[in-house]
Amino acid sequence: MELNDEYIDQLLGKVPKEKAAADFADGVMQKIEAQAAIQAVKQSMLPERYLLLFSLLGGLLVLVFMADFSLVSNFFSQPVQLFIHYLKSKPDVLPGLLKAVLHLPSLSLAIFSAIGLLLVIERILQKFSFKQRAGIF
């Protein structure tokens, strides 16, 4: 037997309401705090990545400059075809590069020390700004 619409309507009105757990609000606030901390760490990671990238690019440029400065200045001022022609006409360029590579251990030590120093400075700066961001809780 199918029940009438009015009866179902009345019955649905009697369905009890759910209650959240006593510590529900505390749980939500803890999650918000945790999420804020994660976001702060993520924000501090991003500039670190960029710093690393710029440092590596800087290191690479140093290598190129050490190889042959005229090679670099010519590269920026001449079209590609002329640059290829230049490479062919100057057989001492490639040995120059090889020489730079042979100097790599001492050079890389200098580059990586610079990168390390940059990262330490960045970490100190981020720690200071993280404390400020986390201050709302």
Binding site: E2, L3, N4, D5, Y7, I8, D9, L11, L12, G13, K14, V15, K17, E18, K19, A20, A21, F24, A25, D26, G27, V28, M29, K31, I32, E33, Q35, A36, G135, I136, F137
Partner: protein, 178 residues
Amino acid sequence: MQTDDLSIIKSVLSGQGNDYKKLVVKYQDMVMSIAMRVLQQREDAEDTAQICFLKAYEKLATFKGDSLFSTWLYRISYHTAISKYRQKKAVREIRTTKFSDQETHIADEFKESVTEDEDELQRLEKALQKIEPEERGLISLYYTQELAVAEISKITSLSESNVKVKLFRIRKKLAQLM
């Protein structure tokens, strides 16, 4: 009431993060009710209710105050609960099959001790489990939260006439299932 909510929101956005707890305490039962009605499982409902409040916190700056904060939160809760239900659908089907016999057995054991009214409510609960999550959400908004059709229309993005038609069809469906 809306003025209270708006002043709390302003306070939270100005850096007093802990004030958000006032909003959580105020609306936790409401969000929990919707989540529980849609998801039918306490554990899932609690997780979802927490997610709703986290989402609301993250988007708090986008709340312009042109609707009630409760309507805005209902909207987040309704849609989050339904999407959570869809994610968990496969797992729930396995659980329902596994425990359905056990649940029937428990229900039968208590059958004699409950009053006629409680018995009807139990039958209604069983029928509610068989309808779609969107339909359960509508039932929760209309009957449990006692919201007007116009407000439900804003929350669900359905037209007012569509809400009325759906509520009528759901009642018809429940009557058949009982």
